[in-house]
Amino acid sequence: MVRGGLFSASRAGWLAALAIAVVAPLVVRSPAYQNLLVVTGVNVMLVASLDLLIGQSGLLSLGHAAFWGIGAYTSALLSLRAGVPFVVAMLGAIVAAALCGVVIGYPSLRLRGHYFVLVTFIFGIIVTLLLTSLVTVTRGPMGLPGIPFATVPRLWGPPLVLNTFQNKAGYYYLVLGGVVLTLWLRGRVVKSRMGRALVAIREDEDLGRTVGIGTHGYKVGVFALSTGIAGLAGSLYAHYTTFLAPEIFDFVASFDLFVMNLVGGAGTAAGPVVGPVLLTVIRDLLRAVHPVLAGILFGMFLIAAIAFLPEGLVGRWQKVLASWRRGAKDPRGSFVRTGRESVAWDAHGGEVFGATREVGKRPAAGQGVKGSAFADGQTALLEWGETPVLAVEGLTRNFGGFRAVSNLSFEVFAGEIVGLVGPNGAGKTTTFNLITGFLRPTAGRVWFKGQDVTGMPPHELARRGLVRTFQQTRVFGRLTVMDNLRLGVHRHEPGGLRRGLLGLNVEEEAALERRVQEVLEFTGLWHQRDRRAEELPYGEQRMLGIAVALAVEPEVLLLDEPLAGMNPAEADATMALVCRVRERGVTVVLIDHHMETLMRYCDRLIVLHHGEKLAEGCPADVRANPEVVRVYLGDEAVLAR
């Protein structure tokens, strides 16, 4: 959905590539070149499956060849020792490799950062060691000869059609079938709901969790899929070469696959074909010249790719095409949409800020807000509904010996806008993290809609309607505004992987697009829908962060410093939007330091100090509280001249 638009869009390109692939063995008749075709096919399968991890999900695996090896040895040993037919051995290879993927992936994918890379790297080394040392099973370094050729049961067709694949050209078509299957599967996954979840994981996993994506499950799932395909490639390879040795699947092989993925263009649609085809052929030519030289030059390819083509060949090509099409259009925008300098001032006051400022406007009774009674426009709500929509009770969190949040209790009622304020380091963001499941409380409970949700993971809370934003501007930067929103509606998307694979999700997709458009119009970002999020001006990026959270359809929205870095006029415009969100029945809790602005828009303020509640009440009372003035508000007099 995201990248590779040009190539995936051009179905003709794929058909042409397929036509070339089909005709290739008829043109190159030399056995050496036909051999190269088969090897290339296997490499395309491996790189395409690896790209599901690296390019699609941002999970760097340096042990992919190990899963290829597990598939190859499983298939070979099943055929040799158990005498099962090829098709059964092949299925066994897929299952074995995918199972190993789950066993390795389940624990290691919980860890962040470089651990997954290390685990896959070490796993690759262990597999090579085992294949070498389990001599009784694998014959170790002597290698495993005499693997039977692939044979499929004859189900149809005239007796002239070969059902064994002894000649290279015939086997090539079997591998081509595997390639087509792999690429088709990959295309469907990328376009499905799962594909979107994977992109979210790649771009910003925590943000993904806040929109309701169970990231760990998706990571394990895609790892199993990827390793399963590697197992299939292993089986096809084993029954082609009919001889296996451990060093075929060692670290160098994993590394080669990584290089092919990078050079082709990780995350692009055509990259996993272009990379292996190009590099397999080049490496073969180099080997013919000098085998050691081949290794050195291959390493240099990687260095060159990282230095000059970090986006890969296909990625670069798409960039060139895109900038060529866009022409010299200046994509610059402004938070306040002025455009022409001559009228800039009027546009500021009149169109944007003037029109949207609806200070203190509250929802009318019966608009989905329970039990709220208004005194007048300026003071806080005095009577509350009997059940708070969000409550924390004795919430405590220690970091080592430091108590960041200490026995904190407060309630938030439906339809309120509550400000959480306090000095830097008072525990405000920690409180948000505890409520939304990013941190586990040391003690205390969190209640949401009358249910105890303490310790529930962020994506589960998001699904129930408790959604947060982050302090720093956090959007999926490399995705377009539209695609950011599409990730936001993830939890409302009924189409699972199965429906995605079968292409049953057309109507659902259309409904989602309408919702995306609605939220973008509501937040005034519709005109920027096709821009990449990172290209937006700062203020609109912040707005997009809120829009993504709104797309999740929260009942309670927690905003962490939504006004940071805004001048008072921009802060006003943002709070006007928050008021409109509240009018739709959403309860809002926000952290910020713009006291002047908060005073005007919040129904209630809660002041934290050293992790404890220092004061709570309507803004005017809080402001007048001498303790709050002392620790938080300070004395403006120091600025007097």
């Binding site: 200046d330 938070f335 800039a344 000095p423 830097n424 203020g539 940071a564 870095g565």
Partner: protein
């Protein structure tokens, strides 16, 4: 605290601006971030850059400090052209940049962070440390603590203190009060005023327009990489257009 650089007179006796930008244009890729920006800062002033997000305020500071190369125009510091100089050379000339988001070395102590600020100089640092600690007494208390363990306000003080260790005659401050609690905002503002009173000229980018205009002598309003208004701080604070666009209700 820092001795004033000799101000060279020109014909007519008017002093050369400490800093002058003349028609500076900067591109980020295809995007023109600054469009022929012209401004000047006289010795001893506090000058504020105002404007919405994306107006080019931070880019202006980054261009002066050599982090961004202008496509055209000149940047003069005491009449010397520093348009083609790199960041290290600019610091050596006496311009210190205190970037947005503070950017400390969190795993180093307060003292180590301050010492690194004086990296471009040789000689003893005792006097400079004393001056910084006078300005920010809390840093003296915490001098052996890791910078990452300080509160937001203390980190901002350390970032300013570190910049001062280079003994700059011009300090570029980018959003020094961003994300700070109100009391801390006043504390940082007080320190800026004090370091200016001790002789450091300040070019300030600040979203908190009330604070900025109370600290500054003069201000420039930027929009789309151009100066659209300029004037004395009090005049700007009274200006109806500025009020509507940046001060809110």
């Amino acid at each position: 605290m820092i001795e004033h650089a000799a101000v060279r007179p020109v014909e007519g006796g008017e002093p050369v601006a400490l800093l002058a930008l003349e028609g500076v244009t900067v591109y980020y890729g295809r995007v023109r971030a600054l469009q022929g920006l012209t401004l000047r800062v006289s010795p001893g002033e506090v000058v504020a850059l105002l404007g919405g997000n994306g107006a080019g305020k931070s880019t202006t500071l980054r261009t002066v400090s050599g982090l961004v190369r202008p496509a055209s125009g000149r940047i003069l510091f005491r009449g010397e052209d520093l348009t083609r100089l790199g960041p290290a050379a600019v610091v050596r000339l006496g311009i210190a940049h205190c970037p947005e988001g503070r950017k400390l070395f969190p795993e180093m102590s307060v003292l180590e962070n301050l010492e690194l600020g004086a990296y471009v100089r040789r000689g003893r640092l005792d006097e400079d440390l004393k001056q910084v600690f006078e300005l920010f007494p809390v840093l003296r208390e915490r001098r052996h603590q890791l910078a990452g363990s300080l509160s937001g306000g203390e980190q901002q003080m350390l970032a300013i203190g570190r910049a001062l260790m280079a003994r700059p005659s011009l300090l570029l401050l980018d959003e020094p009060t961003m994300g700070l609690a109100p009391a801390m905002v006043f504390e940082v503002a007080r320190a800026i005023r004090e370091l200016n009173a001790r002789g450091t000229t300040v070019l300030l980018v600040e979203q908190n327009v009330q604070v900025a205009l109370r600290l500054a002598d003069r201000g420039y309003v930027l929009e789309n990489g151009r100066v659209v208004a300029e004037g004395g701080a009090e005049a700007l604070a009274r200006d109806e257009r500025v009020r509507r666009a940046y001060l809110g209700a």
